[in-house]
């Protein structure tokens, strides 16, 4: 039990610690990521000291004089000596560099003479070297005692048995071709053939035998029929097992004495040590590649399990980065503490990754993801961490234990591996805890935002499965994927409040900075590579080119040594046979110092010793020494050889001697009559290579181009879809030229009204609209379903009787008819309607009533039957007879627009039952009061499920929004209701005559028992009471303020227990809602009030016809600020906590700082579209335009997106715009309503 408690306590402690750690990580993601990055870099810093991996040999030069064999143990001065310079080398290489020429050159000589006699001299030199003996006090030393004794050739090299020395000293020279026997050389009729016999055929990387034996590069040997310089160069290479400076000194002196090189400037005081890295052959590569494939499969299968996160790739990358950087950190730390890695990093790397593993990371992700989604991100991370803390700790402990066991195997390699693994595991744990957890928290936060964003449109943006029967379609509906829909991508939208970051990204994307940096880096890297030439690339390429060229092979039969790529040179050269046997004379070995520098004829070959000879070994193939030693099963990998300074030997041969050494068949190898010079041939080869390379490059470019065209759309990279309405120049795109990208947001079109929509009201859940025809429709604000239709029965009745027989309560004093028809802008006419303030009034053809799009409510009001007018209001008869006739004829000719719409409630539809599908109710005979069907609705409000409609006749009607029944009617007033405010259970109605009526809605139940429906409102919207259908609702006029204003009331707003009215008489009045008491009369405008804003926070702003905007303190009635912002009327006003947004008749939208009254910026709108605006969130503004709504970033004035409402948006302006609580926007669009869901307005509070 005690153990259990200890264990449990430990577990709890670990869990709590992880919980706290998770909170920490999720709270401060950026500092923690920075901290981990810094620590990774710090730990990786020691890696800079390690040599870069590569297979090129490393060179270290020491002086010859004070040379001693390096000790095995490292000495004090480590800085000077490389790590590998310990112990004796594998061998000392002594080379005797022979340059021989026949001089003076004679035209009687044949090309073979260039090299036959010079090569022939190698035998005497060999003899000299072999027989050289140095005697001093310690005894007699010969080459035999010092040289590297070799025994067996590799079994696979039987064919070289005759050439390479198989026993005894490792001493190679061109003489090996003829088994170091002069007789065989003299009998050889074709030297070149013998040399080429052992050349590898085809394309080979490894060193050829010729390079080994000659010891210099092929093109420098001069053994060719077309040699221009006629100087033959070769080396005699001696491998010594021990270093005896005295013997070598005497040998050098002897050779120099015999064959002096007068103009030789070679330095002989440096010894070069060449260290060879471990070689990676194909055979070793295969297992390596296999392990890497397995590693990648492991990583793939592991990261595939990451799920339920925002960015799978991002997290997978983070996981891999975690593991890799922990490995780097482990190596770096080990290096820091003095342990140098001796293992092959590339080999053990996959195993290290597998041992460290990605499991913990995955477990962590899974655990965090499976926490409840509705929790805060911090808590989710913390919970996920603490849930898995025990298993993670157990895992780490187990792995550490296993590795520690491995450490006690006492095998050095395994111990080193285990050490790396332990440090790697610890650093991996550290990185998991700090780096990965933080990245995960960032990702989870992103996902939450994205998820929530997706949820909103997913609920509402769902296309209707089947259109309701109550939405008649005169025209086929536009496709949902409207091409005019231009919106911002969700991520960019999310970055709304972080535009700086966005701009940086856009800047990077626009300038393609990353690509350019990578490109420049690559170029620099390639340049460095070529410049330093670590792998002998240049040499190799040059050698390949020269090898493939037919330079030295033209004398050969075609079946020998002809590379398939460049078919052999000149076939005629083999045909030119000239039998001229010459006697073969063995020349006496005489020194020819007298020849040197003697005769300088124009054709005489010059033997020159340049600095290039000194570093002769550098020009050799990289693999020359390893392959030479590998023939005797001696590896040079990870070992080094010491190359002693070369001994130069210069041989000048007389033409006489050359002729004497001729083979009888040599003269048959006459050069072709016009031999191509090697330069030409070389050039030709280069041209070929260049042409091939060019062709390949062109082909590649074409291929890539085709691929690009296939894969990428034609307009890839262009900004958005070209759209006609908003030209690109008009878009206030940011200074980086970025304009919003395209995504899919389709507005939901609500159809059904036959005429233009006049009034809009919403309480968040429901949406009520009233059209010019007097029909009221109630929609579900979430789905867009039409719930109820309240038709204007009077209209229908009268139209069915064949004529318009409206009787309205129109007051001719304020609204004379000719005014309306003539189109004069009469504020009195329009100010009554709630949707007023719409500045642009366009004239349309009066012959079609349906096209009176911009006239709010005129059509039902036009009484064309002038003969039936009351006599008192009858104008002169002749003035109107004509119009009456025309209109009558017109109406008889065409059905009225309201007739075009016939709700077909009886049509059977398989649609899901919805309230809107109910048959349109007929007027309830037992309704509380008689309904005046003939007047039109001027104002409408919606609260709970009650629609308050103010009619032109002065009636106030209360309709049940769900059932469509008339609940209550009040006819106390006679003047038309121009504005309504519905606040809790009070209704305030402003009338045309300037009076203000206060009504109270009473039910038979006390108000405290009212059910509250829906979410708590935001802004000015209080919770909506729900009136049950069985309740009897009474609408009582509690108080009527007869002369609230001297002139008609234009604006009425209610919020925070106040009612604010604005009037034509330049004043704003504030009433208390409860007792209808006038609190203040605010004076300050010099024109009629056109717009008022008030919200729950008692912010009151008013705008007038004078273009002034006033901010008031509602509590004291004092004016806070007063600015002139517009030329012409202020048409709309909205406030946020920081700014005031106003729009005016001048089509400008101005954003003001609320506290200082300073204009921040303004947005130029399209003509006639300035009035409708709304604020969705603190930073998101929405404005209506011609057939579209635009979203703006309030903080910066950037256009975020434009949503086009329909295809044929010409001439249809958005006049009203209502922001609903669920971040949807309702706007009228002709006879349609448009419901636009904003992708994201979420402001997650962190």
């Amino acid at each position: 039990p005690a153990l259990m408690t200890v264990r449990e306590r430990l577990r709890q402690n670990i869990s709590a610690a992880f919980y706290r750690h998770g909170l920490l990580c999720a709270s401060y993601p950026v500092p923690i990521v920075l901290f981990t990055s810094a620590s990774i870099l710090t730990c990786c810093y020691p890696l800079l000291k390690l040599p870069l991996p590569g297979t090129g040999p490393v060179v270290f030069t020491t002086g010859v004089r004070d040379y001693t064999i390096p000790y095995h143990e490292p000495q004090g001065e480590i800085g000077e000596r490389p790590e590998w310079y310990r112990g004796p080398p594998v061998a000392y290489i002594q080379q005797v560099l022979v340059k021989a020429a026949v001089s003076p050159w004679d035209n009687t000589l044949v090309p073979v003479d260039v090299f036959r006699s010079p090569i022939g001299r190698v035998f005497s030199l060999l003899e000299e070297i072999r027989n050289h003996v140095y005697t001093d006090s310690s005894g007699v030393r010969s080459l035999e005692s010092l040289c590297l004794q070799v025994t067996d050739l590799l079994p696979g090299l039987r064919r070289m048995q005759t050439i390479l020395p198989e026993h005894g000293c490792l001493l190679v020279s061109p003489g090996n071709y003829w088994q170091n026997q002069r007789d065989l050389f003299d009998l050889d009729s074709d030297l070149l053939k013998t040399i080429h016999q052992h050349e590898p055929k085809g394309f080979h990387i490894s060193t050829s035998l010729r390079d080994l034996l000659f010891g210099v590069m092929k093109e420098h040997t001069g053994v060719s029929l077309y040699s221009k310089k006629r100087v033959v160069t070769y080396t005699i290479t001696i491998a010594l097992s021990s270093y005896d400076p005295r013997f070598l000194g005497s040998l050098r002196a002897r050779l120099k004495q015999l064959h002096p090189s007068l103009n030789c400037t070679l330095r002989d005081d440096h010894m070069v040590h060449v260290h060879f890295k471990e070689e990676i052959g194909i055979a070793e590569l295969i297992p390596l590649v296999t392990t890497y494939i397995i590693l990648f499969a492991y990583i793939y299968f592991s990261t595939r399990k990451i799920d339920m996160v925002k960015s799978k790739w991002g997290l997978a990358l983070a996981a891999v980065v975690t593991v890799l950087s922990s490995l780097l950190m482990s190596v770096g730390l080990c290096t820091l503490f003095g342990l140098t890695p001796t293992l092959n990093g590339g080999e053990i790397f996959p195993y290290l990754v597998v041992v460290i593993g990605l499991e913990n990371v995955l477990v962590l992700t899974k655990s965090v993801v499976s926490t409840p989604v509705d929790l805060e991100v911090k808590l989710r991370i913390a919970q996920g961490l603490s849930n898995e803390s025990w298993s993670i700790m157990k895992n780490v402990a187990t792995e550490l234990g296993i590795i520690l066991i491995g450490y006690f195997t006492l095998v050095p390699a395994i111990q080193e591996f285990c050490l790396f693994a332990v440090v790697g595991l610890v650093s991996d744990f550290f990185l998991q805890m700090f780096f990965f957890t933080t990245v995960l928290s960032i990702d989870i936060r992103r996902m939450e935002l994205a998820d929530l964003n997706r949820r909103l449109p997913a609920e509402a943006g769902m296309p209707q499965p089947k259109p309701g029967p109550l939405r008649p379609r005169e025209t086929p509906p536009p496709p949902r994927q409207s091409p005019h829909t231009i919106t911002l991508q969700a991520p960019a939208f999310r970055n709304l409040r972080l535009p700086k970051r966005l701009r940086v990204v856009y800047f990077l994307a626009r300038t393609r900075l990353a690509q350019r940096i990578i490109m420049v880096g690559t170029v620099i890297w390639i340049g460095i590579l070529v410049y330093t030439d670590p792998a002998g690339l240049r040499t190799y390429l040059a050698a390949q080119v020269s090898e493939q060229s037919p330079l030295g092979e033209s004398g050969l039969p075609p079946h020998l040594g002809v590379a398939p790529v460049f078919p052999g040179g000149d076939p005629t050269s083999t045909l030119s046979v000239l039998p001229a046997p010459e006697p073969t004379i063995i020349p006496e070995n005489h020194s020819n110092g007298h020849d040197s520098l003697g005769h300088i004829t124009p054709v005489s070959p010059q033997i020159s010793w340049g600095p290039e000879d000194e570093d002769g070994w550098k020009h050799l193939y990289l693999r020359q020494w390893p392959s030479l030693f590998s023939y005797y099963n001696i590896t040079l990998a990870k070992r080094y050889i010491s190359i002693l300074p070369v001994i130069p030997v210069t041989l000048h041969l007389s033409p006489q001697e050359a002729i004497e050494t001729r083979h009888p068949q040599d003269t048959r190898h006459q050069p072709p009559p016009i031999p191509r010079t090697p330069d030409q041939q070389n050039d030709l080869t280069l041209y070929k290579v260049a042409a091939l390379g060019l062709a390949a490059g062109v082909l590649l470019v074409l291929l890539l181009f085709c691929l690009y065209r296939v894969l990428c759309p034609r307009n890839y990279g262009q900004n958005g879809v070209p759209h006609g309405r908003r030209r690109r120049g008009d878009l206030p795109c940011d200074e980086y030229g970025y304009s919003p990208p395209v995504s899919e947001i389709s507005p939901l079109l609500l159809r059904g009204h036959s005429m233009d929509i006049e009034c809009l009201a919403s309480d968040g859940m429901l949406l009520a609209s009233c059209c010019l025809a007097g029909q009221i429709r109630v929609w579900d604000a979430q789905t867009g379903d039409c719930l109820t239709i309240i038709p204007n029965n009077g209209l229908r009745r009268s139209s069915s009787s064949g004529g318009w027989e409206h009787r309205d309560g129109w007051d001719p004093m304020t609204m004379p008819e000719p005014d309306t028809l003539s189109g004069a802008d009469t504020g009195a006419c329009l100010e009554g309607a709630e949707c007023d303030g719409y500045p642009l009034r366009r004239r349309l053809t009066p012959s079609r009533p349906a096209l009176f799009v911009d006239q709010p409510d005129l059509t039902p009001l036009i009484d064309t039957n002038f003969s039936e007018l009351p006599p008192s209001q009858k104008p002169p008869k002749n003035g109107f007879d004509f119009g009456e006739l025309v209109d009558r004829a017109y109406q008889e000719h065409e059905p009225s627009p309201s007739l075009a719409f016939t709700p077909s409630p009886t049509a059977p539809q398989p649609r899901r039952p919805s309230v809107g599908d109910q048959p349109v109710m007929s007027p309830d005979p037992c309704s509380p009061g008689p309904t005046d069907w003939d007047s039109s609705v001027w104002a409408m409000e919606l609260r709970g499920n009650l629609i308050a409609a103010g009619r032109s006749s002065g009636k106030l009607e209360l309709w049940d929004a769900v059932e469509g029944s008339l609940r209550c009617c009040n006819e106390d007033g006679v003047s038309g209701i121009t504005a309504l405010a519905f606040h809790n259970n009070r209704i305030v109605a402003a009338r045309l005559n300037g009076s203000l009526d206060f009504f109270t809605v009473e039910t038979n139940k006390p108000l405290g028992l009212l059910q509250y429906r829906g979410a708590p409102g935001r802004g000015s919207m209080p919770p909506s009471p729900c009136y049950r259908s069985e309740d009897v609702i009474n609408c009582q006029l509690t108080r009527s303020v007869q002369c609230a204003h001297q002139k008609p009331i234009t604006v009425l707003r209610a919020a925070a227990g106040r009612v604010v009215t604005g009037s034509q008489d330049h004043t704003v009045r504030v009433y208390r809602l409860e007792d209808s008491c006038c609190l203040f009369t605010l004076q300050g405008h010099s024109g009629g009030i056109t717009s008022i804003y008030i919200d729950q926070t008692m912010v009151l702003a008013s705008g007038g016809q004078d273009g002034a905007i006033c901010l008031w303190d509602v509590l004291t009635g004092s004016r806070v600020s007063h600015v002139y912002g517009h030329r012409g009327d202020v048409t709309s006003l909205v406030c946020t906590t920081s700014c005031v947004i106003s729009s005016g008749l001048d089509d400008l939208i101005c954003i003001w700082d609320r506290s200082t009254g300073i204009k921040l910026y303004s947005i130029q709108q399209e003509v006639g579209c300035g009035a409708s605006l709304g604020v969705i969130s603190e930073s998101l503004l929405v404005t209506g335009g011609q057939g579209c709504v635009s979203f703006w970033d309030l903080n910066f004035g950037d256009l975020l997106q434009t949503v086009y409402l329909g295809q044929n948006s010409e001439g249809q302006g958005v006049r009203q715009l209502l922001v609903l609580e669920n971040a949807a926007i309702v706007c009228d669009f002709g006879s349609e309503l448009s419901l636009v869901y904003v992708p994201s307005v979420l402001e997650k509070l962190d």
């Binding site: 590898p200 295969i286 590693l295 299968f301 195993y351 990605l358 095998v411 390699a413 590998s630 099963n633």
Partner: protein, 221 residues
């Protein structure tokens, strides 16, 4: 027949998968190829130990051992890979530990690592080599298998394979470079054991797909 009818409904691909014999053949083929591949690669690793540098014709050294070794390994792996799920099924204790491809890949990587270690690491003596490899193999089993049946089968097959190899060597069909421990290479049983565990893991994972498909089919029915 309901089986056939449902199969025909699902489609030809699923039908092939669900057909039991076809499934076994597919699994066997996959295991065979895996075995051949591993045999070639690991043989290359072992060859490297003895030869420091290769003659230019490298590819021939891939097939330097007897031609029949890779097919034998392939067949053996197919057999073992099919045997493991069978035994799990017969014993009625299905393998539950970490049945994921990533785990299988990890197992394969560790197996290759064991081979690598046995080929490349210089051990002081053969006892040390054998002990280390044995510990590694047991660790492999503990990490990726942990089933009694797996252990038993592994040990049995390892002993059997060692015996067969020994017989082959005794008859001169095959030869070691140098027998070091009771006339056998000491690392051989450990490698065999680890290989059996690995192949068994792969076989079980492959069999899991069949189970899934059958379960889905049952749900569909």
């Amino acid at each position: 027949h309901t089986w056939n009818s449902s199969v025909s409904q699902v489609g030809p691909y699923i039908a092939v998968i669900t057909n039991r014999t076809t499934n076994v053949v597919i699994r066997g083929t996959m295991l065979f190829s895996v075995g051949v591949f591993l045999a070639l690669v690991l043989n290359l690793l072992q060859v490297q130990r003895n030869v420091t540098l290769f003659p230019p014709d490298v590819l021939s050294s891939v097939f330097s051992s007897a031609w029949w070794v890779p097919p034998c390994c392939g067949s053996a792996s197919a057999l073992i890979g099919l045997l493991y799920p069978c035994i799990d099924h017969c014993l009625g204790e299905p393998h539950k530990l970490k049945r994921e491809w990533s785990s299988v890949m990890r197992c394969v990587a560790v197996f290759v690592g064991i081979n690598h270690a046995s080929a490349k690491v210089d051990f002081a003596n053969n006892v040390q080599l054998s002990l280390t490899l044995a510990a590694l193999s047991i660790g492999l089993w503990w990490t990726f298998d942990r089933s009694r049946s797996g252990f038993g089968l592994g040990v049995g097959i390892a002993l059997l394979a060692t015996l067969v190899t020994q017989l082959l060597v005794y008859n001169g069909v095959f030869q070691y470079t140098s027998p070091d421990f009771l006339y056998i290479r000491s690392w051989l049983p450990c490698i065999f054991f680890a290989g059996v565990i690995t192949i068994g893991n792969i076989g079980r994972q492959l069999a899991l797909y069949e189970c899934k498909v059958v379960q889905e089919k049952i749900h569909q029915d």
